[in-house]
């Protein structure tokens, strides 16, 4: 993302809306400026701010006059008065930032918008987490802190050493160069994203072991982690297996996502698609089907 300096009037509205706090008014140039190292290409500024299309010279003049008279004009806080934000073309590996940060962009590896995961919310048709199993979503960087892939890799390496299998239909898994060791491809380790989710599944008996492992590794990671734990309920809709383990470990269970089991498989069986034209790595990650509101 970039800010057109010819349009920016340094109103400061955008400095508050950036989830990473990466936008600031540079006193040297008196324009809003993006710290590109911290920007995760989430497009919250471009997509979230409404746009006016005022003449920049006019707005600067009015702002200067008001400033001299110590008058505070209180415009709407979610408007860019001159539509100064301009997306720029993202090349590999920076494009990874957008794929994991802008929820409007679907992950090609899963076809899912947002963070690209289905977890237990389609468990009634996918059967991903069966009775006696536990599905973990380990989300890094959420809320509003962000994470570098090098930190995500620390957890992946530890999980792999513990013999845990990664969910194959997952955007982070798709970026691993070695699934067996949990190694993430080297060229993206220094990319920062708003958040990313590692998904694993283990037998119920390993629930405590995995959580204790996460506790140990998260001390070495410079961000926050949001843990989600998915379980299959019994025929009465009860979960008497996983919840007691979590409570024993000290978690107070307040909120959950509940799949109520109304889904069913309705697609016709598919013919295998052969001879598909391969695409570039960036296309494969972000997907040509990615859409955004302009």
């Amino acid at each position: 993302m970039k800010i057109n300096p010819d349009k920016c009037v340094a109103c400061g509205n955008c400095t508050y809306v950036c989830p990473m706090g990466a936008i600031y008014i540079d006193p040297a140039v008196r324009r809003a400026t993006i710290n590109q190292a911290e920007c995760v290409e989430c497009y919250a500024c471009f997509n979230g701010l409404s746009q006016e299309h005022l003449n920049p010279t006019f707005v600067r003049t009015v702002r200067r006059l008001f400033q001299m008279a110590r008058i505070r004009f209180e415009p709407e806080p979610d408007v860019c008065p001159t539509a100064a934000f301009e997306p720029n073309k993202l090349d590999w590996p920076r494009v990874v930032r957008r794929a994991f940060s802008d929820p409007r962009v679907p992950h090609e590896s899963t076809g899912v918008h947002g963070r690209g995961t289905e977890e237990v919310k389609t468990n009634d048709v996918s059967g991903r987490v069966k009775a006696g199993e536990v599905g973990f979503t380990i989300e890094f960087g959420r809320p509003g802190v962000g994470v570098w892939f090098r930190d995500i890799q620390k957890m992946c390496l530890a999980l792999a050493r513990a013999g845990v299998a990664f969910e194959k239909k997952n955007p982070v898994t798709s970026l691993m160069s070695d699934l067996a060791t949990g190694t993430i491809r080297e060229d993206i380790l220094n990319e920062k994203v708003l958040s990313a989710i590692v998904e694993i599944k283990v037998p119920v008996e390993r629930t405590e072991e995995v959580i204790r492992l996460v506790w140990e590794i998260e001390k070495q990671i410079d961000t926050v982690i949001a843990l989600g734990v998915g379980a299959r309920c019994d025929e009465k809709g009860e979960d008497n297996q996983v919840a007691p383990i979590l409570e024993k470990l000290g978690y107070k269970l307040e909120r959950a996502k509940t799949n109520i089991g109304l889904g069913r498989i309705t697609n016709q069986p598919q013919v295998t698609n052969v001879g598909r034209t391969p695409r570039s790595a960036a296309d494969a990650l972000v997907g040509s089907s990615g859409r955004e509101r302009q």
């Binding site: 979230g48 979610d78 947002g114 809320p143 509940t258």
Partner: protein, 224 residues
């Protein structure tokens, strides 16, 4: 999409926060899902949701590419549910947000009756979801628990900010904007409802709850 799972707050604080969403699974039931997703949203309207949305185009209150200078004095903050339904053009996750359990439960019962064949989830307090299921006569199939936030939590803002900003799990509602809105309401520069509408526009999939946000902003302004 864990975007509704990790909302910050106690179970009690979700008494006015029920997100019901429908999703088609790629390769399993996504063929012909578009009409069913539209039907889900259409059905929701009669139960008076506080927000509707889809994961591609956003919620019922969206930013505009062409606001006029007059909007600084006369901004329309009416949710446009019809635009959400009409704008849906591809299978994705769609959501309806309610500010009370009765409406959410009645909606779930109506969705069951409609037999859409899509996966339906309720995201709220564990007890609230159980009550919705009980009212609709549906046993829970699966449950995804939020264990909250851990790790380097010193990087997180205070609880009042988190209550607001985590209502967009994709992180599109920044902590700084949430804090600014609390301050503006505290100073009397905006009403809680106006401040909530600004935050709502940043949510890119329509799961932000403006009713809960307005309540939280009013409470934060009073120092509660």
């Amino acid at each position: 999409m864990t975007n509704t799972l990790h909302r910050f707050g106690s179970a009690e604080s979700f008494h006015d926060d029920y997100v019901v969403f429908a999703i088609a699974s790629k390769g399993r039931n996504d063929e012909g899902a578009l009409d069913k997703l539209r039907q889900f949203l259409q059905l929701a309207i009669q139960f008076k949701p506080v927000n509707l949305g889809d994961a591609i185009h956003g919620g019922a209150l969206r930013p505009s590419r062409h606001v006029t200078p007059l909007s600084h004095w006369n901004r329309d903050a009416t949710p446009d549910f019809a635009a959400v339904i009409q704008g849906l053009d591809a299978p994705t996750t769609v959501a309806a947000v309610f500010d009370n359990r009765v409406s959410a439960g009645d909606f779930v019962a109506a969705v069951r009756q409609a037999d859409l064949g899509l996966s339906i989830n309720i995201s709220t307090s564990i007890d609230g979801a159980e009550q919705c299921c009980f009212a609709a006569g549906i046993p829970r199939h699966s449950v995804g628990y939020s264990l909250g936030f851990e790790g380097e939590t010193t990087k997180l803002p205070d609880a009042k900010v988190m209550l607001l900003s985590t209502m967009c799990g994709h992180g599109m509602v920044s902590h700084n904007l949430a804090k600014k809105m609390i301050d503006w309401v505290k100073e009397g520069r905006r009403t809680p409802e106006q401040a909530a509408s600004y935050l709502t526009r940043f949510c890119s999939c329509g799961v932000f709850n403006p009713a809960r946000a307005a309540r939280l902003l009013a409470q934060a302004a009073r120092g509660e």
